[in-house]
């Protein structure tokens, strides 16, 4: 194990499509932000080469990931983003900072957490010794 698999084999492609789908969902739409697969596909197909079934699969997979919400309307499912771009970014930071602050190394491993004044002093002293 010398190389870290960064995005994994399926990473970039799926991530890129999910991003494109979210961009569509974040854009203006009449029905309170709810989109059918067909509507998402129509917007996406204009700018990229994505099959209808691919869009459907990607949307379906984004539900358990918590990225989009799903509701059943008449015959077809409808989707919308879990939050606005700002809300989701805030959510991401809250998770990142929450994990750092609690010093809970469960899900994320932080480089360094919160520091007390004594700890800052220790860092300053060590740097002074090293450079002095």
């Amino acid at each position: 194990m010398t190389e870290i698999k960064e995005p994994g084999a399926r990473g970039p492609r799926v991530g890129e499509l999910e991003r494109a789908v979210l961009e569509v969902l974040w854009s203006e739409n009449g029905a309170e932000g709810w989109w059918t697969v067909r509507e998402v596909y129509d917007v996406l197909a204009a700018e990229r080469n994505a099959a209808y079934t691919t869009v459907m699969t990607v949307l379906g997979r984004m539900v358990p990931k918590g990225l989009v919400e799903q509701e059943r309307a008449e015959k077809a499912y409808r989707y919308r983003a879990a939050g606005s771009r700002g809300e989701m970014a805030a959510d991401l930071m809250r998770q990142a900072l929450g994990s750092v602050a609690e010093d809970s190394h469960d899900a994320l491993v932080a480089f360094v957490g919160e520091a007390t004044e004594a700890e800052r002093a220790a860092l300053r002293d060590a740097l002074a010794r090293l450079e002095g």
């Binding site: 991530g15 991401l92 998770q95 750092v100 480089f111 919160e114 860092l123």
Partner: protein, 293 residues
């Protein structure tokens, strides 16, 4: 050894390895000079404690049931012993399941957010936020190193290299799995067992190891400066709770304990790690198992 003594010896060993031994190890701060060997010892002690506890219960059952003429009280005692052993094992399994499922679902959701919101820059996910954070998201296939714009802005190229080397060391060595195992132990037995001290110390040791990787790459100064730049002071109440982690890391960065004395101490710890698992197995468990056959 008299078979009747096996449960007693193993019970005494389990108590020793669950309470006083970890408490003493946590106080022996010199162990941080040989972090890899110290990690091995911590893991051996924890594993040996669990095995001794389970072995003690099971051997008591066999001693009672395989006696010449087990009376009713022997059967009752054997049943109680079996129940307690099952309780210990069950608690561990349940805690392992809860922690595993919880951690993985948290990571999956967080990774999904990172992947759609962060910008990929040379293998690093950069979040567009000014608050400085740097962390890694472990996983077999979907490991990520994540930085915020705020962190990138505060770091020089050498400091950035130190941070990335530190995080990649965590991912490469799967430090998250060790932390998870000690987390499981702590959640299963939060009291009466020195599991909090063990978790705290192992958490520190993985940081010391990742710091050492960064120092090998960039030297100590960029790492120390990166620590100073990113050490948070965001919430006063969180800062109050923070332990001696950074001070201990600084001490280890300044004095990595290399040289022959370091090698000698590490060798001693490795031998102790093997002995703590091997000796009880050979001297106590093997005769008991052979006696059953």
């Amino acid at each position: 050894m008299d078979p009747a003594l096996v449960p007693l010896v193993l019970a005494a060993l389990a108590l020793l390895l669950a309470g006083p031994v970890p408490a003493l190890l946590a106080r022996a701060t010199g162990l941080r000079r040989t972090p890899r060997a110290a990690m091995m010892l911590w893991q051996s002690v924890a594993l040996a404690a669990v095995l001794a506890a389970l072995g003690s219960g099971l051997s008591l059952v066999t001693v009672l049931v395989l006696a010449e003429e087990p009376g009713p009280s022997a059967w009752v005692l054997a049943a109680v012993s079996l129940g307690l052993t099952g309780l210990v094992g069950g608690r561990l399994l349940l805690s392992g399941h809860r922690v595993g499922v919880g951690v993985r679902s948290l990571r999956r959701r967080h990774r999904a957010l990172v992947d759609v919101l962060a910008e990929r820059r040379e293998g690093v996910s950069v979040i567009g936020h000014e608050v400085p954070v740097a962390y890694c998201l472990p996983g077999l296939l979907g490991a990520r190193v994540v930085l915020s714009e705020g962190a990138v802005a505060r770091l020089s190229p050498a400091e950035l290299e130190a941070v990335l080397t530190h995080e990649r060391a965590h991912l490469r060595a799967r430090h998250d799995l060790v932390l998870e195992a000690f987390g499981v132990l702590h959640r299963a037995f939060p009291r009466y067992v020195s599991s909090a001290a063990a978790l705290r110390e192992v958490t520190l040791l993985v940081e010391v190891l990742a710091d050492a990787a960064a120092v090998r790459r960039t030297g100590p100064a960029p790492l120390l400066r990166a620590l100073a730049a990113l050490a948070g002071s965001r919430t006063p109440e969180a800062a109050l709770g923070a332990g001696a982690g950074i001070v201990a890391r600084v001490a280890a960065i300044e004095d990595p304990g290399a040289g022959w004395s370091g090698v000698a101490r590490a060798t001693f710890l490795y031998l102790a790690s093997v002995a703590v698992l091997l000796l009880p197995t050979l001297l106590v468990v093997r005769p008991w198992v052979l006696g059953l056959a």
